[in-house]
């Protein structure tokens, strides 16, 4: 059976080149970067090179603005809790959006419940977009942080971060953006964006799992969430995960070197898939912004067909996709993102996310376009008939 992986939003395969580097730093160059001897020095050098590579990918002026973490979730936690606690004397208000990843939403809720912060959850329009004007309206003299994602993990909508950052800046408020889904897919430049903090993750850019980074603009105070040694300039204690970090660095380098061709390739496949689905299956809605969306994201709601059933059927045909985000699949709750965008529960339940990657081909897309309409037709055919009969029978006896 053909295998087609269309869940790069959940995770990506590690680039073989990255895997080789990781192997080297596990087996040959195994030193602790804090050690004074040559083994330690070699590891230190590798970590600092990775820091430069990551800084380079996101246009950070100084590599010391990069803090390595255990992943995107930790980067989000460190950014939000770190800023909120460091600036507690200034105020207790945080602004975010209703469509953030749970790493951001649940961290904000935690600060609300346990530490007395007030959080404004901004709404989004039908395409999942935050209105910068709403940000301007929400800022008070108590606001310490605006945290809005760069691009949505479920529907791929790209937020007007530069404009949001400009508005916040004018009022002297710090800006964080969760760019986990965007980095490596579209140009992300912290200087041009004007953000103060930015999260990214290794395993979404063909690097390893268990490593990520937080960009922290120079001069931004941050209360650490991990305590221990003086690692990462007192911002994140714990011996650096050298293999992961060099893996992330190498992956960042590769993404930067191939960004244009990669983006172009994805857009061609994405549009082929979107057009094919819209043409081939009736009663389908494309979720997210039609143009301001990630090059690899396809998210559709297919009426009268349940997302879960489509997903399992696709799995049985060798196609890996997701319904909602990976973290929430298995739960019956409709996606908070689609609900915030105003979709009915039925359409939210019928949503399907396919996220493409660099190794996907046109043949992959054509295979999906051959299989998916068949699955949808089957689900639709039985959805009104078989259950209705049975339901009636059972309630009549």
């Amino acid at each position: 059976m053909r295998k087609v992986y269309l869940d790069h939003g959940a995770t990506t395969p590690v680039d073989p080149e990255v895997a080789h580097v990781i192997y080297r730093y596990m087996v040959d160059e195994f030193g602790n970067p804090s050690s004074v001897h040559q083994f330690g020095r070699a590891a230190r050098k590798a970590v600092e090179k990775a820091r430069e590579q990551v800084a380079d990918l996101i246009g950070a002026a100084d590599p010391s603005e990069i803090v390595f973490t255990s992943g995107g979730t930790e980067a989000d936690n460190l950014a939000i809790k770190g800023v909120a606690r460091a600036y507690r004397k200034k105020g207790n208000h945080i602004i975010t959006s209703a469509v953030e990843h749970h790493a951001v939403l649940h961290t904000c809720e935690y600060l609300e419940e346990k530490e007395g912060f007030k959080v404004t959850y901004l709404p989004v329009d039908g395409s999942g977009m935050v209105d910068p004007e709403d940000v301007a309206q929400a800022i008070t003299d108590q606001t310490v942080l605006v945290t809005i994602m760069f691009a949505n993990n479920e529907v791929g909508t790209i937020q007007p971060i530069a404009e949001i950052a400009r508005i916040a800046k004018e009022k002297g408020v710090l800006v964080h953006t969760d760019a986990v889904q965007a980095v490596g897919q579209v140009p992300v430049d912290v200087e041009r964006l004007g953000v103060d903090l930015l999260s990214l993750s290794g395993h979404k850019i063909y690097g390893p799992k268990g490593v990520g980074a937080l960009y922290v603009r120079k001069g931004t105070r941050l209360e650490p969430t991990m305590h221990g040694g003086a690692h990462e300039k007192h911002r994140r204690a714990g011996t650096e995960g050298v293999p992961g970090i060099v893996g992330l660095g190498t992956a960042a380098q590769l993404r930067k070197d191939h960004l244009d061709e990669y983006t172009e390739h994805l857009i061609v496949l994405r549009d082929r898939l979107i057009d094919g689905i819209l043409d081939g299956i009736p009663d389908v809605k494309l979720n997210g912004h039609p143009t301001k969306r990630l090059p690899n994201n396809v998210n559709v709601s297919i009426a009268y067909a349940e997302g879960e059933s489509m997903l399992l059927n696709m799995d049985l045909e060798g196609i890996a996709a997701s319904s909602g985000s990976a973290c929430t699949s298995g739960s019956l709750e409709p996606s908070h993102v689609l609900v915030a965008m105003g979709l009915s529960h039925e359409l939210a339940h019928g949503s399907l996310r396919m996220t493409l990657g660099k190794d996907n081909t046109e043949e992959d897309i054509d295979y999906v376009l051959e299989v998916l309409p068949r699955i949808v037709e089957r689900l639709r055919k039985m959805s009104p008939i078989a259950p209705a009969q049975r339901e009636e029978k059972v309630s009549n006896v």
């Binding site: 399992l312 059927n313 298995g330 019956l332 089957r378 078989a386 049975r390 339901e391 059972v394 006896v397």
Partner: protein
């Protein structure tokens, strides 16, 4: 080569459904394992604590088994329909003074409702479970027939009497021809990790089988102490709330009346429990509602059957008669040859002819 017929097996992580899945795989079916997650939302600590069927631990077991026999495996969430059709029903029935059977409701609405629909949606022809019962198609009648499982100790046909022709046509019971002993041996031979797992008997959503605490938690306002009367209408004691009593109950009444007394009636409207003598616990018959028949569509006259009034009770000789009913309801009157003890409204009565399941219904009222 013809494509293998696809079957979705409901896997609880236990011995029976694991062996059922393995047997189907051996026979060449295209088998998909599914565990039904039925709890809407639990706090993390609650999930860890709760064992039993359909818990997280069960999911882990089922996943291992599926991996071992080499079949795709999914967890499907049926929390919504389970709450509505099984838990809420369970609670409401107790509040009405009845003694519900949640497993039968789960079969009707969850396994052969929501799960069957999902299975058909996956292109499966059948849903299979680890129930001990047998299905056979009778071409002369043009109907699917349901029989007791061959192992009399394990037969589970009692809980399956409600299956319609349409549901039976899409059902496989691979364990029907086997005994529990054979199934355990089979599990051992297959190297299934669950071979030695103990039987689960209790109500799967009530922790530690303590349904009193469960009801206190969910319907505290329906639990009101009230009088216990004897059959002459005299107050002889106080009860703690009618959901805690069931017909035929003798223990825990807190009465000393010189002779043993038993609960003989529960009047939910008046919040009254009635106790009587040993003789008064016996009934000569009952009315059954929500009746389903399997070898024929409806009962057109009197018929001799063996009637079973509880999961583990013996089937006893009886006559069944159509008894009409209000609002188009078709009741069936059941008359036992010998009076039966503790006929309990809310439980089901199932009619047999030897091993053949004729059908059954829910006990509405004792005679």
């Amino acid at each position: 080569m013809a494509q293998a017929v696809r079957v979705v097996v409901a896997m609880s992580g236990g011995v029976d459904s694991s062996v059922a899945a393995a047997l189907l795989k051996e026979k060449g079916y295209d088998v998909i394992g599914v565990t039904m997650q039925i709890w809407p939302r639990l706090a993390p600590e609650e999930e860890v604590r709760r064992g039993g069927c359909c818990s997280l631990a069960a999911v882990e077991d089922a996943r291992k088994v599926a991996d071992r026999i080499g079949i795709p495996y999914y967890v499907m969430n049926f929390g919504g329909v389970f709450k509505e059709r099984v838990i809420d029903y369970f609670i409401e029935e107790y509040a009405r003074g009845k003694t519900p059977n949640p497993c039968i409701a789960c079969n009707f609405y969850v396994k052969w409702g929501a799960l069957l629909r999902k299975a058909l949606g996956l292109g499966a022809k059948y849903v299979a479970t680890g129930h001990y019962a047998r299905i056979d198609y009778d071409p002369s009648l043009g109907r699917y027939l349901l029989y007791r499982g061959l192992d009399p100790e394990k037969d589970q046909s009692y809980a399956l009497y409600g299956l319609t022709q349409d549901q039976l046509a899409h059902t496989l019971f691979p364990l029907g021809p086997y005994t529990k002993k054979e199934v355990r041996a089979r599990a051992g031979k297959l190297g299934l990790v669950v071979a030695e797992k103990p039987e689960s008997q209790e109500i799967c959503f009530v922790t530690g089988d303590d349904y009193h605490s469960f009801l206190r938690e969910f319907i505290p306002d329906k639990i009101e102490p009230g009088p216990i009367l004897n059959t002459s209408g005299e107050v002889v004691g106080r009860h703690r709330g009618i959901p805690f009593y069931t017909i035929g109950q003798r223990r825990g009444l807190g009465l000393s009346m010189g002779e043993p007394v038993y609960v003989v009636d529960i009047k939910a409207d008046e919040n009254v429990i009635v106790v009587g003598t040993k003789e008064e616990v016996y009934s000569r018959g009952l009315y059954a509602a929500e009746v389903n028949f399997i070898p024929f569509e409806r009962l057109n006259g009197e018929k001799r059957v063996q009637a079973q009034i509880r999961y583990r009770a013996p089937a006893v000789p009886a006559r069944i008669v159509p008894a009409g009913g209000e609002n188009g309801e078709e009741l069936v009157k059941v008359l036992f040859d010998e009076p039966q003890r503790a006929v309990t409204p809310g439980q089901s009565v199932v009619f047999y002819e030897g091993d053949l399941v004729l059908g059954g219904g829910i006990i509405r009222e004792r005679l």
